[in-house]
């Protein structure tokens, strides 16, 4: 959806950052599982921590902590919600 600014896939959301779900690209069963987790548009998701091998990643979703593999998370597009660490993001946001 074009109205989302600075979209990344959930799999690329840096740890400690929050994103707002813009779009789900999965199909069928996978899509339903993701929806059941409460991952509908406008949901705030935070990337919490990664497993020792770097995948899967645990996300805070509507009060629960859910681990998703990269394959699943890359189906979800999020807009960066707040970025306390990155100045460049603010700059980008400011231009928009």
């Amino acid at each position: 959806m074009s109205m989302c600014k600075q979209m990344v896939s959930l799999a690329d959301l840096p740890l400690g950052q929050k994103g707002i779900v813009c779009e789900l690209k999965a199909r069928n069963q996978v899509q339903r599982r993701l929806l059941d987790l409460g991952l509908i548009t406008d949901t705030v998701v935070e990337a919490l921590c990664q497993s020792p091998a770097g995948d899967p990643t645990a996300y805070q979703i509507r009060g629960a902590v859910i681990a998703l593999r990269r394959e699943e998370a890359s189906n979800i597009l999020v807009q960066l919600a707040e970025s306390p660490y990155s100045k460049s993001w603010r700059a980008v946001n400011g231009r928009n």
């Binding site: 789900l24 199909r27 069928n28 069963q29 996978v30 899509q31 339903r32 599982r33 993701l34 929806l35 059941d36 987790l37 409460g38 509908i40 548009t41 949901t43 919490l48 921590c49 990664q50 497993s51 020792p52 091998a53 770097g54 995948d55 899967p56 645990a58 805070q60 979703i61 509507r62 009060g63 629960a64 902590v65 859910i66 681990a67 998703l68 593999r69 394959e71 699943e72």
Partner: protein, 702 residues
């Protein structure tokens, strides 16, 4: 028109024949909300509880009496939703739809209410007879989360009861409310969920055709939604051309607005989630924003790149070490006790002049085997099992699955297989049942077939006993650490074997790619120490031991008979063992050990006792006055460290026990997978022991 589909795949639920006037109560809820604890508190039953999602794999049922009324409670599998079509969800949905439960209690987690309301709203669409139970209030209080129960009841239109099931708080009120709803003293009026515009327009078209047949307005709405979802009247009722035509009209109308079936489902779920969010916003207030910060910080450490795996291994090793150190002394005590009694029994037999045959069969056969089983097996079980339950109760197990998922993915298997393996540590049959938490059939079969590579509580003491006899002797602190390390490395090797075999299976008979994966990491919970001790001792240890005893008694008698029935030049036992011997030697064992493994099919616990029995019966009868003499007996019978190593390896890798095989047959409904589950570990064991035995001999190490 039939109102709903007949329940499918209900299994045990299908024959929920209630006792005469019982009120049937269904317990539904998300996984990990303390549903099983509520069930136990209501019924006084002791269903095993644990802090990981999907623990209730089979539906339990129990009964209780309240105010003179009898209730049958059905504990449905924990689900997040009723819409995604997994087996568990179908079981839960069909049971609620079937109309059997007069009341459905939705157990929710006060610390995560929003997510839980999603399911509650779905259930309230199906039935009005709903009680919402907001559980885990103490935990919520500790996290400074408060839930306005009265407001929640008002917004939902159904009674809401707050509980803290762990200590029984609120249970009487819950029972009262269930009673009142079942008796019609309270009539819940759930507010129907409003969907978005095109959907509501579609519903408005369908409802007039359904409503004359279905009095309950909410139920008619629910049925209309399912018809839209399904795209045809199909098996929702007998043919109804008028309804079918209308349905197709409505579907075209929706399609004209770019809403296909897939979209339709997405919209339904989105509406549910938004409604849950809206309600939660009004009833839940947070005292502090970072209420989960402790959990998050713990997670950052136990799943970190640097410490994640080492912490996991340390915890497991520590559990082994405590077991080894702790089991030694009680083993000796129990041993002394039993053999003192054996002396008395023998004197009793002599005193009354009972026949030698009877003394041999009962005392030297049955009694002595039982004594071995209990003194060698009980202490390690009684220590390891509670320790393991402690980790389970804390909520650590899902973190193990999280840490290991990457490797399971590489093996084309499911990360939740780690959870089923953890269950296998307790009992492989339980581990196999737990495989139901894996949605994908392919990955579930992989988990079932490979579960036996994890040593269960019944095989574990064999590892402890042999490691302390042959590898690290001595009683110093250092030697007990070394023993724990040895066992840890055996376990790590069996986990590696699991990865390799899983990968081989997914490249051959179970071809396929890994499917979707979502694993909940539940909040850490303060374990209930007293309960853990009691439960794991009473429920598991005694249960497993009782099973071993039941099997050991006839096996002891059989071995004694075989040792005392002569055929030709030798005893039956010697003949059988000699016949097995050449083959057994190839894999580093001897005929008696292999025979013990075969006789141990019903229960692995009896393998070492049977080996000892056989030796005692064949050689001169050694008077075991000390457990440490075990070493002498084994060495006198030709054991070397290689024999011990191969016995340990074979114990880790051989056919599953009888109970596990039956469970596999039940779970897979397939002879093919049952046979594969028998062959895979057996062949692995033969190959592994052969390579080790021949390798060591070739190198001249023994």
């Amino acid at each position: 028109m039939e109102e709903t589909r007949r329940p499918r795949s209900l299994g045990a639920l299908a024959d929920t024949k209630k006792e005469a006037d019982d009120v049937v109560v269904a317990l539904a809820g998300n996984p990990n909300t303390g549903k099983s604890t509520v069930f136990n508190q209501l019924t006084g039953l002791r269903q095993h509880t644990g802090n990981w999602p999907g623990k209730t794999v089979a539906s339990a049922r129990g009964r209780y009496v309240h105010r003179g009324q009898e209730f049958t409670v059905i504990d449905l599998p924990g689900t997040y939703s009723l819409l995604a079509n997994s087996v568990e969800e179908e079981i839960a949905r069909d049971f609620i739809c079937s109309g059997s439960p007069q009341t459905t209690v939705v157990v929710t987690d006060a610390t995560c209410l929003e997510r839980n309301l999603n399911l509650a709203l779905q259930i309230m669409e199906i039935t009005t007879q709903v009680v919402v139970c907001v559980n885990l209030l103490d935990e919520a209080k500790r996290k400074q989360i408060s839930v306005d129960l009265a407001k929640l009841a008002e917004l939902l239109g159904v009674p809401v009861v707050g509980t803290n099931a762990r200590d029984g708080k609120g249970l009487t009120e819950l029972k009262d409310t269930i009673y009142q709803v079942a008796r019609g003293q309270i009539n819940p009026r759930p507010y129907p969920l409003t969907y978005d515009e095109p959907l509501e327009a579609a519903l408005a078209q369908l409802l007039p055709l359904l409503q004359p047949k279905i009095a309950d307005g909410n139920r008619a709405r629910w049925l209309a939604l399912r018809l839209l979802e399904q795209g045809a009247v199909g098996d929702y009722g007998e043919s109804n051309p008028e309804l079918e035509q209308k349905l197709q009209e409505v579907i075209s109308y929706l399609q004209a607005q770019q809403i296909d079936r897939e979209q339709l489902r997405d919209r339904m779920v989105s509406c549910l989630v938004r409604q849950a969010e809206k309600i939660a916003k009004q009833v839940v207030s947070f005292g502090k924003a970072d209420y989960n910060s402790l959990d998050r910080n713990i997670d950052k450490i136990v799943t970190s790149r640097l410490f994640g795996i080492p912490i996991m291994l340390t915890l497991l090793g520590l559990a082994f070490w405590i077991t080894i150190v702790g089991a030694n002394y009680p083993s000796q005590l129990i041993f002394n006790f039993f053999f003192a009694i054996e002396g008395r029994l023998t004197r009793l037999f002599m005193h009354y002049g009972w026949p030698d045959f009877l003394h041999g069969l009962l005392v030297l056969g049955v009694y002595r085997t039982l004594a071995w089983v209990i003194s060698v097996m009980l202490p390690p079980m009684a220590i390891f099992f509670p320790l393991f339950t402690l980790l389970e109760d804390l909520g650590y197990l899902p973190r193990i699955a999280f840490n290991l998922d990457h490797y399971f993915k590489k093996a084309c298997a499911h990360g939740k297989q780690a959870l089923t393996m953890c269950m296998g540590f307790g009992c492989n049959a339980a581990g196999v049942s737990a495989c139901r938490i894996i949605d994908s059939p392919r990955e579930r079969i992989i988990a079932i077939v490979t579960n036996n590579f994890v040593p269960c509580n019944g095989r574990f003491p064999l590892l402890i006993a042999l490691s302390s006899i042959f590898f690290v002797t001595g009683t110093s602190l250092g030697s007990s650490f070394a023993r724990a390390l040895l066992i840890l490395s055996l376990i790590v090797s069996s986990v590696l074997i699991t990865f390799v075999v899983s990968r081989l299976l997914s490249q051959t008979v179970l071809k396929g790619l890994p499917t979707s994966f979502a694993l909940e990491l539940p909040p850490y919970r303060k374990p209930q120490l007293g309960r853990i001790l009691l439960r794991s001792l009473l429920d598991r240890t005694i249960f497993v031991l009782a099973r071993a005893v039941v099997v050991a008694a006839p096996a002891g008698a059989l071995v004694w008979l075989m040792a005392n029935l002569s055929v030709g030049s030798g005893t039956l036992l010697a003949h059988t063992a000699n016949w097995l011997h050449p083959f057994a030697q190839l894999i580093g064992l001897d005929g008696y050990i292999l025979l013990a493994f075969i006789l141990g099919l019903p229960a692995n616990e009896i393998v070492i006792p049977i080996v000892l029995m056989s030796y005692a019966q064949t050689g001169t009868l050694i008077d075991f006055s000390n457990l440490a003499e075990l070493r002498t007996i084994l060495i006198q019978n030709g054991w070397t460290w290689l024999t011990a190593l191969c016995t340990m390896l074979f114990s880790l890798n051989h056919w599953p026990c009888g109970t596990t095989l039956l469970t596999i047959r039940n779970e897979t409904q397939s002879n093919k997978w049952t046979i594969l589950s028998l062959l895979v570990p057996t062949v692995t064991g033969f190959v592994l022991c052969f390579l080790v035995a021949q390798g060591v001999r070739l190198l001249g190490l023994v």
